[in-house]
Symmetry: C2
DNA sequence: CTAGGAGCTGGAGCGCGGTCCAGATCAAGT
DNA sequence: ACTTGATCTGGACCGCGCTCCAGCTCCTAG
């Protein structure tokens, strides 16, 4: 698809920031921290030029981060990829473990949601009743928890 | 031992820590930060005694925190509850807004999960069939499959 | 009575994940 | 040439949410 070494296909840091949702600060930070698979190419003037592959990788980084992977682990993953073929089982273990954590997170969030939804329901009812009656009556304990 | 022979209706900070999953440090911190609805009762010796209502409230705090509510907002909520009846609509708005954020989080996580699951699938396939074959060369990134 | 563990306070410190600043350089438009 | 804006580097700094420390007190078990 892309002719190797074609500079026209590369993006500046600002454009990459736009596309990935990361700030330019974060992009430089990630690079410094070794979260990228390869070194970012530079123009003669020293500006970063990101390839499509760089952007793809950053997209993955964003997903992994969004789902709670710590930078340290992301760094480990980047390291494995950087090493090249041979460690796929390890990459798989890492991703798979993360996936399980994500599933657990979703489960936990759903539980939170249902707890909150119940509270919302209670308040909605109180509010509806209060507005129907006019004002809430502080003396009415209403037989429920105030929370 | 671990369990002081204390009256049933109130709990020491350690017991509350056990029941809520918060550390004793966190419990004292939350109190200092005004995240509790009322002041915690004390023994004559100055030790905290938590009521069931305190523990209930802390349970809610834990859920809200787990689902990403910042302490500042939790504090605001605590403040509203502390004020007593009259501000239910505001409490409702707060909880409802949070609930929506939680739902958005779940959505985002599910998207991440599916992206990750796809990667896991790819790696699983590679690992299953590729132990003997050279898989993918990171240096030949141009035009190659993304990681 | 004594020992040892749980709890107290105020305040310092920490890990994470960036964010921001200063001061310089590069690149593009007019 | 000049201006404007994007980008560069190294390092300082920040917000959040706790966590830990020192030094002391309380309280119960043996």
């Amino acid at each position: 698809m892309t002719t190797p070494g074609t500079p026209a296909e590369s993006l500046g840091i600002g454009q990459v920031a736009d596309r990935t949702g990361l700030s330019v600060h974060a992009l430089r930070f990630y690079e410094r921290e070794g979260l990228l698979v390869g070194p970012v190419r530079r123009t003669s003037g020293g500006r970063r030029r990101y390839t499509a592959a760089d952007v793809d990788w950053l997209g993955i980084c964003v997903r992994l981060r969004e789902s709670g992977m710590p930078l340290a682990e992301l760094k480990r993953f980047a390291g494995l990829v950087r090493e090249g073929p041979g460690n796929e089982p390890e990459r798989l273990r890492l991703l798979d473990a993360h996936q399980r954590r994500v599933e657990e997170q979703i489960r936990a969030l759903e539980e939170c949601r249902s707890v909150i939804a119940r509270k919302v329901g209670i308040y909605a009812e109180h509010v509806a009743r209060g507005e129907a009656v006019g004002l809430w009556d502080p003396t009415a304990a209403a037989g429920g928890r105030p929370v």
